[in-house]
């Protein structure tokens, strides 16, 4: 993409905003419809902020790799960049009396959203039919890996570096693990 044409970039951001908005709305509706969950709300223009920062991250962190290869970054880096962008914006806040909007608590709920955005993107691209989405709820290794990953997403220090590559390797391995034939597990 030629960045001297900002109209084109603007259009890309607009499209990505729509995609994130869709995932975010479904996440909010379902989270808040569960009576056991603490109620949450989203800040204004969250999707646009995530989309814009996503482009910023990709430009500044993936550019070098781009020039070595064919001009495309893979789906794992798209997921990784979106997840990190979500954590930079942290769009969710608690909307229920008695719940503390402390930095620590905000990080927890936003890490959950960030991970969901990454999985939604990967599943959407990888599987043509939504009925094929894997659901490895009985695989303890995968659940443990997801738990550890979510914990890491909560607390990585975004002021020091933005680990797009490191994070994308997790998603690459995650997708490899959940799409393995059962006999290979």
């Amino acid at each position: 993409m030629d960045i001297s044409n900002l109209d084109e970039l603007s259009e890309k951001i607009k499209k990505r905003t729509g995609e994130i908005e869709n995932f975010l709305r479904i996440f909010l509706e379902n989270w808040n419809s569960n009576e056991n969950h603490v109620k949450i709300k989203c800040i204004e223009d969250a999707s646009e902020m995530i989309a814009t920062i996503y482009f910023h991250i990709i430009y500044n962190n993936v550019k070098g790799e781009y020039f070595k290869h064919d001009g495309h970054i893979n789906r794992y880096k798209v997921a990784s960049g979106t997840e990190i962008a979500c954590m930079l914006v942290k769009p969710l806040k608690f909307d229920q009396p008695g719940y503390n909007n402390s930095e620590n608590n905000i990080a927890k709920i936003n890490a959950r959203l960030a991970t969901e955005l990454a999985i939604q993107i990967l599943y959407s691209i990888h599987f043509e039919d939504h009925n094929d989405y894997p659901n490895p709820t009985k695989d303890k290794a995968i659940l443990a890996a997801l738990g550890s990953h979510t914990y890491w997403v909560r607390y990585f220090d975004e002021t020091k570096y933005l680990p797009v590559y490191l994070n994308s390797t997790f998603w690459e391995m995650y997708m490899a693990a959940i799409t393995l034939e059962p006999k290979l597990l």
Binding site: I26, H37, Y59, G71, I73, K108, I109, Y133
Partner: protein, 83 residues
């Protein structure tokens, strides 16, 4: 007025994404050449455009992820309520 707004958005975007201040598209191009920036990585598989994402997929994805995270969510909600 519309073109002024458009230009403002472009200037803001240039500042935000590339850290450069410009007044118009011509200045932007010059600045990008000086910074030896020609292209942005083509990171964008346009998910909707290529019909990767449908409402059904997004809803199904959310359900699957909710099941995957059931244990983690339960623990997190308890943890938050104790703070």
């Amino acid at each position: 007025m519309r073109s002024q707004i458009k230009n403002f958005k472009k200037r803001t975007m240039a500042k935000l994404l590339f850290g450069i201040s410009v007044n118009n598209e011509s200045e932007l191009k010059t600045a990008l050449i000086k910074k030896e920036i020609g292209h942005l990585p083509n990171a964008e598989m346009d998910l909707f455009e290529n019909q990767f994402v449908t409402q059904e997929k997004a809803k199904r994805g959310n359900l699957v992820i909710n099941e995957l995270f059931a244990g983690i969510d339960e623990e997190m909600v308890k943890d938050i309520s104790h703070n």
